[in-house]
């Protein structure tokens, strides 16, 4: 998998963005950018160039689920892989995310191993589909 993938990390907590950024860097993905809300992430995505999105759910301006739906609804972004990393641990939330077309779902707190597993799984499926 191309380690130069451009990844957007979206979370309203700066510490979480930093932790995810560090974990991705440990796995070799150093081409990352950050957004502190779905609202600030959206124009960045529209501007183009991103290959992957890691997003939280609960954010004040625009939630992760709404960002996901917006991504899937925009033709030039619809195929963008989205991994949700969130504290929301209810069945209903997971089902809603699945229905909205999420590629992976990680529940906080999580380990580096889990992140790697989910990333690898998403990439494997994308390769299959290609």
């Amino acid at each position: 998998m191309d380690k130069n993938l451009k990844i957007l990390i979206v979370d309203d907590f700066s510490t979480m963005r930093r932790i995810v950024k560090n974990l991705l860097a440990d796995l070799g993905y150093t081409n990352t950018q950050e957004a502190d809300d779905g609202k600030t992430a959206w124009p960045m995505l529209l501007a183009g160039g991103f290959d992957f999105v890691v997003t939280d759910w609960n954010m004040p301006g625009m939630t992760g689920i709404d960002l996901l739906k917006a991504i899937r609804g925009e033709p030039k972004l619809a195929a963008l892989p989205v991994l949700m990393v969130t504290a929301e641990a209810q069945r209903d939330q997971i089902i809603e995310a699945a229905k909205a077309g999420v590629n992976g779902y990680i529940i906080k707190p999580f380990t580096a191993v889990t992140l790697k597993e989910k990333l690898d799984k998403i990439f494997a499926r994308l390769a299959e589909a290609a």
């Binding site: 510490t15 930093r18 929301e88 641990a89």
Partner: protein, 245 residues
């Protein structure tokens, strides 16, 4: 007309006003009628305001006599805004501590990397000594390299020790944050008590512990004993697998 009815002056006045309005209508004085009618309604509203004013004053007096108003104004005016500031403080302090911790961890990682490179230098030095085995400078060259590397590693190790100590120290925020959280919990309990007292005094019943209320349908991080039906990562994986992911 009944004598008892007419004996009530308020009612007599009402009847007189209405009679005047009927007369105005009969002679076709619409403007006059409207004016009188507006005045009539206004008088009724005034009556309503007076009643509401009286009830409000009575409620206020009752609360004061039960000392609720002091309690509640104290809670609303001072303690609750206090509690919110305190929680903001906790949020700020934990965020700062987390960033500081991560900074120190990054520094430690660099130092570890330093040490690793130094050991690679040692390997290279040994290689050279081997290659130039015959030369008179080979052994002294090796000794110099080993010496320099040893110093380098010792220096990195000392810095590492210092960073790790700072790292441990950076966890001190938990004590302060924990104390503040305790205070806010106490405040929430006293608000709970005040509300229950108020509810009981007004004749209401307090329902048994209600289910956790989600905000916008979201429950937030799963807290044992509080969050209903939280699933684990394994459950989430199984659920997604079921749905074909």
């Amino acid at each position: 007309m009944n004598a008892p009815v007419l004996a009530n002056p308020a009612r007599a006045e009402q009847i007189e006003r209405l009679r005047e309005m009927v007369v105005l209508l009969e002679v076709g004085d619409d403007a006059g009628f409207e004016a009188r009618f507006a005045g009539f309604l206004h008088a009724r509203e005034q009556g309503l305001f007076v009643t509401v004013g009286r009830l409000t004053r009575e409620l206020h007096d009752a609360m004061r006599s039960l000392r609720f108003d002091e309690q509640i104004s104290g809670l609303a005016g001072r303690e609750i805004p206090d509690a919110c500031s305190r929680l903001d403080y906790v949020g700020k302090v934990t965020e700062e501590a987390a960033h500081k911790t991560l900074d120190l961890v990054e520094q430690c990682q660099h130092l570890v990397q330093d040490i690793t490179l130094a050991t690679q230098d040692l390997s290279a030095a040994c290689q050279r000594a081997h290659v130039y085995a015959g030369s008179p400078y080979s052994l002294s060259g090796l000794v110099v390299s080993v010496d320099e590397t040893r110093e380098h590693i010792a220096g990195s190790a000392a810095q590492l020790r210092d960073r790790l100590s700072q790292l441990a120290q950076a966890q001190e925020y938990q004590d302060l944050a924990g104390q503040v959280i305790k205070r806010v919990t106490e405040l929430v309990r006293s608000v709970e008590r005040a509300l229950i007292d108020l509810l009981r005094a007004s004749g209401g019943a307090v329902s048994s512990r209600p289910a956790e209320t989600p905000v916008n349908g979201l429950h937030g991080p799963a807290v044992e004993g509080v969050t209903p039906a939280a699933v684990s990562q394994d459950d989430a994986d199984a659920l997604l697998a079921e749905l074909g992911f």
